[in-house]
Symmetry: C2
Subunit: 338 residues, 2 copies
């Protein structure tokens, strides 16, 4: 087997001690002559010495990495969110370690444990199934900085959130302004806290117009995926709704397929509004009306706040609210007159 | 700040040495009584001691993690590939660390360096921009096990590949059998080795029918994304092709949008065939005919081969070829008679 160049090899070649090499490579070699420093750095390059992270980590007491736990790497929302994290992490010289749990709570717990074992500098948790107990016993107890995204119901600590209540309001206002009076909402049967806020916002707007949510809205439960939206089609059609609020864009795009197969035209026969504004929305026919979340910015902001926390553990809780916006495209229109 | 429970705290509580605790927790405590072992494990739970990975790693000399470098985490092909890796890695008790480089070669090099620093147990590289020089000077020299996916042109070492040549042949045979005689191929201007094999397979089939590739095929260069496929629309239409081979499904879906805006019907006016078989193919209208790659299996197999290599560094090179298949849906048909 080929032997990896060690710090000892490098020290020997440079004719200095291992400690000297270590201090120079870690940017703490000010007390050595610039000649010695340049000599060591030149040899490092020649010998192609890559510092062993695990050893170095014990010296620096900072892993310079952040763990990121997302429910599903395949959802365009989360892949965009991760891009935001990667860009900002690189700028701040942190390495994001990405863990996607495929919506499996057991895998989430397993990954969380592994992230902590690796002494990750801090965690961004965009997963709803991490409980208060886990936070208390595992993260707080071990003094691990963390930041929760708004999928998580825990309101403690640093947090990046978008205004889901406003998002639900915007959806309802838009559909009401077009003249709709009967609605369906597609959402998972065990909704996360942020999804419930979307529904609450929707409900408040209906109430302000004298409409009783339970009388004019049918909730159709299905997974938050394209397949889930497709599966919801029959119940949506049976509900008599003239407009559907899909709780995310993936569901809306699944619903498109189901409606198309039934010969139902969007928006002529039924209006559909989604949530997220993923890039796919402009590629489907008709282009999807949706509520935009600033997804890249959410990733970027989460990274900044977490790094703040890693560097200054004692600062006050940081909570950032990012705005949402209605993006009106072609999938919503006036209701059909029967 | 809250203090993290250390191995010293645990040893003290258990009334044994740190070495004893370390050996017991690492499953090497056979020489101690089962009473001592159970006592330590019970206290570990009570005190909620999580072994520090960086320290433990130096002891075990195996990081039990594998680094995964993909060009773009947002491409459904790679998110599915990553799912395959995650599932198998978990089964084999390895942790995949995912690095997505957003098609930026500088970021790829940066991440590669960071993965090596972390003494990752091994690497899966699904990125084309890692050169022979990097492999030689960085990976081989440091004795780091690695596996290349077929985007990469280097033929050395372990490898998981699909038969891209066959894929190109299947696409050409399908379009010829429908009666097409003029084609466009959309692909990036700096194609990776596997894409060139798809084109070569396409060309061979044309040649076998007496058709000269350069006379009957227009190559339209654009990025391998939805936006790239959309951008390619004008040149595709100008080419006079009656059938388009999009080098991946994302490009095909982008092309759908461009064609729709021009009032061109698929497959009535023009046929489109993609490559990959991502789940979106069944949600677009018309459903996309494509060449299927066994994406999940590719991720799973890559993980198995890499772990084999980590465990037995001296075994012969492992090369696995996975088959591809034509999935005929609704986006291809007979050419229009003018």
């Amino acid at each position: 087997m080929i032997k990896k160049t060690t710090i000892r090899d490098l020290a020997q070649a440079a004719g200095v001690s291992v400690t000297t090499v270590s201090q120079i490579l870690n940017g703490k070699g000010q007390r050595f002559s610039s000649e010695t420093r340049l000599h060591v750095l030149k040899l490092q390059k020649e010998l192609n010495y890559v510092p062993d992270f695990n050893a170095r980590n014990l010296i620096l007491k900072s892993s310079q990495s952040i763990g990121v736990l997302v429910p599903n790497i395949g959802n365009p929302f989360f892949s965009t969110f991760i891009k935001g994290i990667q860009t900002t992490a690189r700028e701040l010289q942190y390495i994001p370690l990405i863990f996607g749990a495929n919506h499996d709570e057991k895998i989430e717990s397993y990954y969380l444990e592994k992230m902590i074992e690796r002494a990750t500098g801090g965690l961004i948790i965009a997963s709803a199934s991490i409980t208060t107990e886990t936070i208390d016993t595992t993260l707080k107890k071990n003094g691990i900085p963390y930041l929760l995204m708004d999928q998580n119901p825990i309101v403690d600590g640093d947090r990046v959130q978008t205004n889901d209540f406003d998002g639900g309001k915007l959806a309802a206002e838009h559909l009401l302004s077009l003249g709709h009076q009967q609605f369906a909402i597609t959402m998972p049967s065990e909704p996360t806290a942020n999804l419930l806020r979307r529904v609450a916002g929707f409900k408040q707007v209906l109430a302000s117009k004298g409409l009783v949510f339970e009388q004019v809205v049918t909730i159709v439960y299905a997974p938050m995926t394209k397949a889930g939206g497709y599966e919801a089609t029959r119940e949506v059609l049976a509900s008599g709704a003239t407009a559907v609020f899909a709780i995310n864009d993936e569901m809306a795009i699944g619903l498109y397929r189901g409606l198309r197969q039934q010969g139902i035209l969007i928006p002529t026969d039924i209006s559909v509004i989604g949530y997220d504004n993923i890039d796919l929305d402009e590629y489907v026919e008709p282009m999807l009306t949706t509520i935009q979340q600033p997804i890249l910015e959410m990733g970027s902001m989460a990274t900044r706040l977490l790094v703040n926390r890693i560097k200054e553990p004692l600062i006050a809780p940081q909570v950032v609210d990012l705005p949402v916006e209605l993006i009106q495209r072609q999938s919503t229109g006036v209701p059909k007159i029967n």
